[in-house]
């Protein structure tokens, strides 16, 4: 299903080579024993490394660790740490792949993060169906803190920090109005660090090898590497580890592409000629999804399918999201078919503005981002559709969208 690239851009740091899961012995052989240094020193190293979160938001890991540790001291409550491997994005496979191939790297990172913030509880949240983690955990007899595996129902939003904190606390996996934020009041109302599993794996290596080593990949402004899920038509999606700053064209072939979707279903469509000028950049990479749309496909039809899915995934809790997302999806469906468009373009622009920033989570914002980038990138196609034509010749669905919402 997924493999590391044969034409490596860098020796993979995170994924066990050969696409074979690394058991604990193999893991120790490859990386050496875990580092259990002084939390203060580790914090400084993380700050120097420039490590950022790999769940999509790209927040500096150091600052997150510090704020949770401080919230713990301020409230007198031991924080909770949740490793977030609940990859809700249907186009992303990197967290699942990492957990399958290198579970112990994630678990090392989880222990380190827990120690750094002074956590009293640790959880590993994964999607329903991920079954092998208990056996990996059972081997780790030296871990100071026991880790509980939590399985989440498969949904786009279950990995959202507040939804995750609520689910681990025994509630539904739905976002909440987060004030104060999860880092101050999360699982069982304790300060909670929710950290993506890839971030934790990087943390485990930063602790072992230091900040300078980490910075040998990437650019001075964006050091390190990231796991990307690369979609090329006609091939299985691949999970690739690539340094920031790598030209996009080296990750996915752009000849014959009309556009590229970067950052996943809350991401941005970019026309292929523009994408050819881009380097891998955390500001748009989101959770690492890159998908090429060939010239013979219709970007509007693809976007319409994704928007329908996103509207169905709306938790339906917030008025603007509940009202806006289905309307946006419906309007986009009209655009996706050649024929009269009526007021659809104006409606889409207005509704995108109305949902933005008006929900308990960023689902409406991400949806509006996708809509706007599609309208810009596929402007010529929208015009062609209005005249009753479609430039695409192949109408087979391309982007992975789960059948039922």
């Amino acid at each position: 299903m997924t493999a590391t690239f044969p034409d490596l851009h860098m020796p993979p740091r995170l994924l066990a080579p050969g696409a074979t899961p690394a058991d604990l012995a193999t893991h120790h052989q490859r990386y050496g024993p875990p580092a259990h240094g002084d939390p203060e020193i580790l914090l400084r190293t993380v700050a120097e490394s420039g490590l950022t979160g790999r769940g999509g938001a790209g927040f500096p890991t150091y600052r997150k660790l510090v704020s949770v540790a401080q919230a713990g001291r301020r409230t007198g409550r031991a924080p909770v740490v949740v490793a977030n491997g609940a990859e809700g994005e249907p186009a992303s496979r990197k967290d699942r792949t990492l957990l399958r191939l290198s579970p112990h790297l994630v678990l090392d990172g989880l222990q380190l993060a827990a120690r750094t913030v002074g956590a009293g509880e640790a959880y590993l949240a994964v999607e329903d169906g991920v079954i092998w983690l208990e056996s990996a955990l059972a081997r780790r007899t030296a871990d100071p803190l026991p880790v509980k595996v939590v399985r989440l129902p498969k949904s786009f939003l279950s990995g959202q920090a507040a939804a995750l904190a609520r689910y681990v606390s025994g509630g539904a996996a739905l976002p909440t109005h987060q004030r104060p934020p999860v880092r101050e009041r999360g699982v069982h109302r304790a300060p909670t660090l929710v950290q993506n599993v890839e971030t934790l794996a990087h943390l485990a290596l930063v602790a072992r090898y230091g900040a300078d080593w980490y910075r040998t990949a990437g650019t001075p402004a964006q050091p390190g590497s990231a796991l990307c899920t690369v979609h090329v038509p006609g091939r299985e999606p691949r999970v690739v580890e690539a340094p920031y700053g790598l030209p996009l064209g080296r990750l996915l072939p752009l000849e014959g592409a009309r556009a590229v979707l970067v950052g996943g279903y809350h991401g941005t469509w970019i026309p292929a000629p523009e994408a050819a000028e881009l380097a891998l950049d955390a500001s748009y990479l989101g959770a690492g999804v890159l998908a090429a749309l060939p010239v013979d496909r219709c970007g509007l039809a693809e976007t319409a399918r994704v928007l329908r899915y996103l509207a169905l995934q709306s938790a339906g809790q917030c008025g603007p999201c509940l009202n806006g997302l289905p309307r946006i999806a419906g309007a986009f469906r009209t655009l996706a078919a050649p024929g009269p468009q009526g007021t659809v373009r104006a409606d889409l622009a207005r509704w995108s503005g109305l949902v933005e920033g008006r929900g308990a989570c960023h689902h409406p914002d991400g949806t509006a981002r996708l809509v706007r980038s599609a309208l810009t990138t596929f402007a010529a196609e929208v015009d062609a559709h209005a005249r009753g034509h479609c430039t695409a010749t192949d109408h087979t669905p391309l982007l992975p969208v789960p059948e039922e919402g």
Partner: protein, 71 residues
Amino acid sequence: MSTAQHIDIDWTACQGHGLCADYLPEHIVLDEWGYPLVDGAPVPVGTVRRARRAAADCPVLALALIPVRAG
């Protein structure tokens, strides 16, 4: 130091009753579905009382006045 106050809506609670728009028409209008569109500006000192009343009278307590802060 008197901190500026912001109007904050809990979108998971707000039912679009629109009462808040009656109290604070210069800061809140309703969108086409009946949900409040808040202008986002700090609430002027002279309006804070009225804003507090709007918060207290919101039938589902979805509206709050919170100190302006980042994040």
